[in-house]
Every structure is written in structure tokens, then in C-alpha cells.
């Protein structure tokens, strides 16, 4: 226990303030609809890998590490779409995942934002549309926010998620 406490103390706080100097446009983030201030204190996300290579997932995982500490913004991942304010979709929508994605979306309470993360989800990326793939997420569901990148870096993901919340202005802490 002492070893753990020692390590915790010597590690200190690694969490970095979010660098918001780059505009959403320059990052390629597109916002069509936000959930606005109502969710400023708590934003629940259900992630769905609809046919990703798993690269996007690795960077979503990185959002939880001490450097990014997603939860300081009141954003958390939930297990059920019924508890979610938004779906975060990665990958092209493989045809084998089409129905599962639609059902997850239908299970969400309205208005239920859809956020497409990564080149595949935004425009089909390297896989596009084929016998196996429906292509980009918006070929299956209306998309509210697009976060580009292959995969998007955690900082860009974070900016995109905050943009979905309509929290571009107050980036530090929910008011």
C-alpha cells in the first residue's frame, strides 16, 4: 500500500488543460446539431464500433488516461444506449452491424445525438461502400457531429465531444 501511495504522490497530476487554440473548422470537426447547455454537467455516451479496424477504439480508450481525463468534463461512457445522450460511432457501418447500430440508436432516449468519429465513420475511409459495408455512418443514420482523423487523436475527439455538448466556449469546467 505504501508503495502505491508513494507512486501516486510522486506521479502527481498529469492531466493537461485542453488546448482550444485550434478552431473546430481547422480540426475538420463539423457540428450540425448540439445538445446545448442542458447537458452541461453530465453527458453520457454509448460507443458503437460499427466496423472499425480498432484504431479509433484505442484513441477513445486514451481519453480515459490521466493526461486527458475525459470525466473531468462530465462526459462518461455508459453501457446501455438507454442511458445515453449520444451514440459515438466508429468504423464504417459493416452490413453485419447495420441492424445492431439501428437498434442501439432506437433504444436511445430522444433527441439522441449521433457522433461519427474517424475517417471511416465520416466518409467511409479506406473501406467505403461494398457488399460488406454500408459505408459512412450517415448512410444508415442522420449524423449530428463529425470528428475526422484516422484515427482522430484524443484531443480532437475531446474537442468534438465538447462541441456536441455546445461547450466550445467554456472548455475548462462545466459552469
Amino acid at each position: 500500500m505504501l508503495r502505491i501511495l508513494h507512486r501516486v504522490i510522486t506521479t502527481g497530476t498529469l492531466t493537461e488543460p485542453l488546448d482550444a487554440s485550434a478552431s473546430l473548422e481547422s480540426l475538420g470537426i463539423e457540428v450540425r446539431r448540439t445538445l446545448g447547455a442542458r447537458f452541461a454537467g453530465s453527458f453520457a455516451i454509448r460507443h458503437v464500433d460499427a466496423g472499425s479496424c480498432n484504431g479509433c477504439e484505442l484513441e477513445i480508450h486514451a481519453l480515459g488516461n490521466p493526461y486527458h481525463d475525459l470525466e473531468r468534463f462530465g462526459i462518461r461512457f455508459v453501457a446501455s444506449p438507454r442511458h445515453a445522450d449520444a451514440l459515438l460511432v466508429t468504423g464504417v457501418v459493416s452490413r453485419h452491424m447495420q441492424e445492431a447500430l439501428l437498434r442501439a440508436h432506437a433504444a436511445m432516449a430522444k433527441p439522441g445525438l449521433v457522433i461519427a468519429a474517424g475517417a471511416c465513420a465520416c466518409d467511409g475511409g479506406e473501406f467505403g461502400t461494398s457488399y460488406a459495408s454500408c459505408g459512412a455512418v450517415d448512410s444508415v443514420l442522420p449524423v449530428d457531429v463529425r470528428i475526422p482523423g484516422c484515427p482522430p487523436t484524443p484531443v480532437v475527439l475531446l474537442r468534438g465531444l465538447l462541441a456536441a455538448l455546445g461547450r466550445e466556449a467554456g472548455l475548462t469546467r462545466p459552469g
Binding site: R3, V8, Y131
Partner: protein, 526 residues
Amino acid sequence: MMAQAFAERLRAALPAVALAPRTEPGLMPAMVIAVAADDWAALGSAAHGLGARWSACWIDPEPDHWRAWVLYEQGGAYVLAQTALDPRAPRLPSLTPVFAAADRPERAIRDLLGVAFDGHPDARRWLRHQAWSAEVHPLQPGQPLAGTPPARTPADVGYAFRKIAGDAVHEVAVGPIHAGTIEPGHFRFATVGEQALTLETRLGYAHRGVEKLAVGRDAAGLLRLAARVAGDSTVAHAWAACMAMERAAGCAVPPRALALRGLLAERERVANHLGDVGAIAGDVGFSFAQMQFGALRERWQRRSAALFGHRLLMDTLCAGGVRTDLDLEGTQALLQDHARLRAELAPLTAILLDHPSLEDRLVGAGALSAADARALGCLGYLGRASGLAFDLRRDAPYPPYDRLPVRVPLYDSGDVAARMRVRLDEIGVALELMDALLAALPPGPVSTHWEAPPAGARGLGLVEGWRGETLAFVRFGADGRVARYAPRDPSVFAWPALESMLPGNIIPDFPVCNKSVNGAYAGCDL
């Protein structure tokens, strides 16, 4: 040559069949043995009798006839068996009765190419769900890439999972969408109370048509795809694809490029092990270690971005070399990183290996016996935790590993704790290898001019990715375009291993068992 000796032993084991082993430059280091389809199973049995491992099977629909390939490995020696198939009615004796590892790969081939495997014990589909019908085989050359999918592909409800009957037995169905941020797949458990009696996995949800998409691409296009077969193994698959193309073309990659590829592959190994060790701890509630390892991984990824342009090292290789050189400053920074990581890992490792509540959850959980691991063809850390030492870098070394001593950690308890230890040890080995590579980085260019070979040229790539032996086969068609790309991720063998280790464990231990194995879904589904 080791492969020659292996081929000779096969020939001796099959006196009735006139085997004529030969070499083909693109397919080195393997020896090629052509047999009639009728002798396919006999050759498989002979290989099995010699203790060989079934490594991969793929079908190449060449213009005039189709060709089936199976790769066998024994003690680092490779033999490629091949036979011709009639494209109008392709059939082949199944090797699954001899090699359990062949089971799902053969079913995947049946779905995608319509090859009938005689004697296969499982008639169920594997990669096919409901997006195309049983009569359609999308990878056949005549099939259009677009296919004729329904507007809305229904859920795949008709798959006949194995039924386990008995008092108080109940089924738990999980997925394709899981509770956490992970890839899609379906797990079907039969349980009694908390105890799992069986687990059956069903994949194919992340099938993106990789092999079909590869057809007609040039080398650069193929590499973009190979880099995305499995996002955590982007260097491994890109390197295997490069190696296959370069062998096919007889392209001599400069030594500096090979050293840098080794460096990139070891960086990928370290990044994944750091993330997974943290995640294993996190799955049993030890969030201290999860956060510590998460921070180490983040710093590692940032260095990758700074020096090589990508946090996951995607698109860092090109046919003929690598895309980024490393200057002296970068070399120094890496050496310092390595020293720092070692210093940080020492106390963390001490905590992980001596923490009673962690030990309680990890020791004995998800134990995979050496016999099962061998029968299922397990590779990489999964095999090494269950007593299988095979490591391409040591046993069939390719540059730059041919001039480096590679230590291979080995444990025999086969449980989650052993898999975690192998990973921690492998980080140490990777750091040693990277230090050695950096200390003697050859001078010179980091890539050479790439020229695609003539139609018909084919090559085999084999590298030790972070999950183990990672394979790519490439055949070129006209105009330097790829006619066939067949990748094989080591995860193909991880899922049956997960099924085999689970019975007797409690369902709440499934996540940590799964994490410790960490099979790729996308890498299997293609």
C-alpha cells in the same frame, strides 16, 4: 536449410506420394510442395505426425485455375503445400479433423469463395451473416465489389449455437455490442449459476471486405489497407504486406529501413502491452495500475507521433522501405525514453507481481493448457504463457532480427497472471532490441525505388507482430496491381483458445480473461 530438412521429413513420411519440394524466390523461406487434391489430407496428416503447426490456409483464384495454399511450420522451418482446384466446383479435403486450428479459417474460405471442404465437421457458416446468400461467394473473381446487399441487412438470428442441456443450465448471450468500448462480436455462454460451462464466440461483425478491396490496388493502396486490417497491429500487417510484395518483386530493402521497421514493430509491441497490462489490472478493479500504465502508453504514443508522424504508427512503411528517417536527436530521445520506461516499470512491476488482491483474481484464472495451446496453434504471448516458445524473430529470423539475440519469455501456468507476466517481460525484451537497433543503426537511405513485378509474381510475408506470427500473401496481376492479398492475423487462433480456457471460470472473470488474450476482431473478420 531448415525448410529443406522439414520437406525431406515430409517426403520420407509419405513414400507413396511422389513429393518434389522446390523453392520459389518470393515464397522463401518456405519450401513449396505441390500435391494432388487427393493427397491434401495425407500431407496434412504427415505434417501433424511430425509435430508441425498449421499456420494458415488461403485460396488464390488465379486466372486459369485456383490454387490452395497451406503453410506448415515446425521448429522455425516452413513448408507451403499447394494444390490446384477446379474453379467450377472447387473442393478440398478438410484439414480440420487433423488440425483444430483450421476449423474457422476453412469455414471463412467456404463462405467467401465457395470452396467445399470435404469432411469438415462443422457445416455452419462463419463470416457470412445475412448480407449475402449462401449461393453467393463475394470473393470469387466474377462477383462485383458492390454485391447485391439488401437495403437493410437483418440481424443474424439463425446461427445454430451449440446447445448445452441440463438442469439449471442457462444461456447468456452477449453482443455484438458490448458494455465497453470494444470491437463487435457475439459471445454465447452456457452457465450454471456463475460458472461458465462453455463459451462459443461468433465473429464476422467487422467484416469489411478487406481481401476484395485489395484487388486492383497498387502497392501504396494495398499498404493503406494492410495498415487497417487491425488498428493495433498496423505495423505488423503493413510489414508483412511489404515483405510479401518485396519478395515477389525481388526488391532489396536498405538495411537502415529494415532496422527502422524493427524499431517500429517493437514500438507497437510495447504500446500494446502497456495498454493491455493496464487494462487487465483495470478489469479486476485495480485502477491505480490502469492509470499508471495508461500514462506510460500515452507518453509512448506521443513520441511515436513526434518522431514518426502517427500515434499508432499507421502508414509509416512503404514498399521498399519506411517513410520517415530518424535523426540523431530522435535517436537520443528514444534511448532516454527507454531508460525512463525501464525505471518507471520496475516499481510498477514489483507492485503488480506482489499484490494479494490482484493475485487472487489473476492466478489460475483462464488457464490454457500447453496441449490445448498447441492443438489450437496459439502464437505470441498467448502461446508463451502456455509453454509454447515459438517466436519468428528468434526461430526463423528475418532482418533486422537476424543479427540480434532475441530472448523469449516462457511460462507454463497458462493463466491470466502468466499472460500478464509474458507481456511485462516482452516489454523488457523489446526495449533491449530497440536499444541494440539504435546503437547500430546502419547508415544510408530509408527506402529504395519500388517497381512492381510482372503479372503472376507472388510473395509471402511473415513477421512477428505483437500478437505473434502475422502473415501476408500477395500475388500481382497486370500493371503492378494486386490480384490477391491474403492476410492472416494471429488472433484467428486466440478466439478458440479463449473458448477452451473459459469453462470452470466464473462469468465475472470473463472480461479479464478476454483482455489477457486480446484477440483482434477486425483482424479475423477482415
